[in-house]
Amino acid sequence: MTDDQLIQRIETALEAEQDQLEADLPAILADMEGQTDELVREHPAVMARILGRMEAMDIASFVSANPETADQFQELLWSGMRVMVERNPEVKEQINEDITTNFEADDCPMEGHLKVREEEELVTGGAGQLDDADITITGPADVLVGLITGNVDPIQGFMQQQYEMDGPVQKGTKLAPIMNSLSEQVPE
């Protein structure tokens, strides 16, 4: 399938009702595998729409029903982040410390990680966990996704105990502005 065909297919799926979209998504995510960076670069608005629709879903039950999508969905999410950081000086300005973070959903089998690298001014992320991460963030899948896409303010969500954060407080507070500036880049 060419990129254009894939995009066409995604756009059609996005027109559908939520139930239909949920049925179509596993196949779409599978087709996108391996080329998400490129797709995000070429079609940022379409990718943002998928993320937007996924946020409206019950992510935990979707991932529980389709465990193979957990990594694919994250690949899309993190590709989005990588591309946005590459392009946005605002995010780079916030990076002044190395921080490694693991994410762990407590309501479905979804694990991910985020690396902030000061020297390269990079934020990268992906599925699976890092050894010895500075910070571990645990919570419901929709909150974790919301943290990355900006639906959940990192500090506000923490104070309201929507999720838990383990690790040094000083690193955690440094991570918050980076996550906030990342999510500000997600197209509406």
């Binding site: 990192p154 500090i155 506000q156 309201q160 407080v169 955690g172």
Partner: protein, 402 residues
Amino acid sequence: MELTDEQRAFRDDLREYLDETIDPIVDEADRNGPMDREELLGYVSDLNELGVGFDPETAPNFFGDVWNFTIAAEEISYTWPSLLVGVMMSFPALFVQFAAEQTREAMLPKLEDGDCLAALAVTEPEGGSDTARPNTVAKKDGDEFVINGEKTWVGNAHYADCVLVVAHDDSTGASDMFMVDRANNDFETREIDKMGWKGVSNARISFDDVRVPEGNRLSNMFSNAIMAGNEMNDIVPFPESVTQLFFDQKPLNATFSFMRTGMSFMSVGIMQAAFDAALDRATDRETFGKPIAEHQLVTEQLYDMKAGLETSRQLSRRAAELLEDGSEDARLMSSLAKGYTSETCKDVTDDAIQVFGGEGLKTENRLERYYRDARVMTIPDGTTEIQKLIVGKELTDASAYS
């Protein structure tokens, strides 16, 4: 535990002030019922000079230093527990610095002058100990939250400039806190007459369509402050180790661990006062031709009181050490200490009255005040039963609340 020279100097100056200024007036002041705003502010200003207070200049070295905080809790309570409560419960005033503009404008000058009194409103008439699900609701309306509900037993509320209110945040479904300042939003209070801690006011509050800017939601205040480049410790007045517990044990629990350790030292202060009085009496008072200290049953009472006092002090210090270390056991130990010392305080002040005989019952003497103040200790900041539930949960990871 050895105090440093600095801590000893802090304690000695505080003792001198309490002996010279508070001790001579405390009996009458307490008997006359709650201090009013002006009286409390007068003492707050004196205490600020000694390093005790909740203004931005004093707080970091008071709330920010576990030992200064616990020394003050014990010493002030030795002389007048109500005064400690009035000062300690004003700590939410510090959050004014990070509130929305209208609150900052109205309250910051007062805070900086040391006369912004505050209160923490958690307890509700309906919910009582069950504080996790407040009935007070904050509904989002545009850029504001509209608060409706009732709080009760709130220390300082009657004359406070601002109140930090726990409410159900309807927009997120979570519990949060909201700063209500009286300059922009008045609310009604009704004072409660009570058996002990008579010198400090507790009141019921009604919030009837009270509107606050969204920037007055505590989680927004934290978020805004951190985005503006503050560290967590610029926002909360507690030591770094306690702020770390915010992460390890949730923010509200860490705050309670800190306050309960203070309460535990408060009980120690009351016990020490009752014990000192009983010891004097035991050597002065004579019956059957000799001092009552020479009757073995009285010796036994002194033994029991001293044992209660010292075990309580050691347990309180252990809780303080764990707070200072940021230990994961801080929550368990602060609840154990608060529960144990407040119950022991009841026993020790009861024994002290017994050692005094009929004199202990006279309202002109202090023994009955010690006893009434001690009786209060087992209820606020979590009843003894709630402390037992917390300790049980920490020990077993099994909740026995319901």
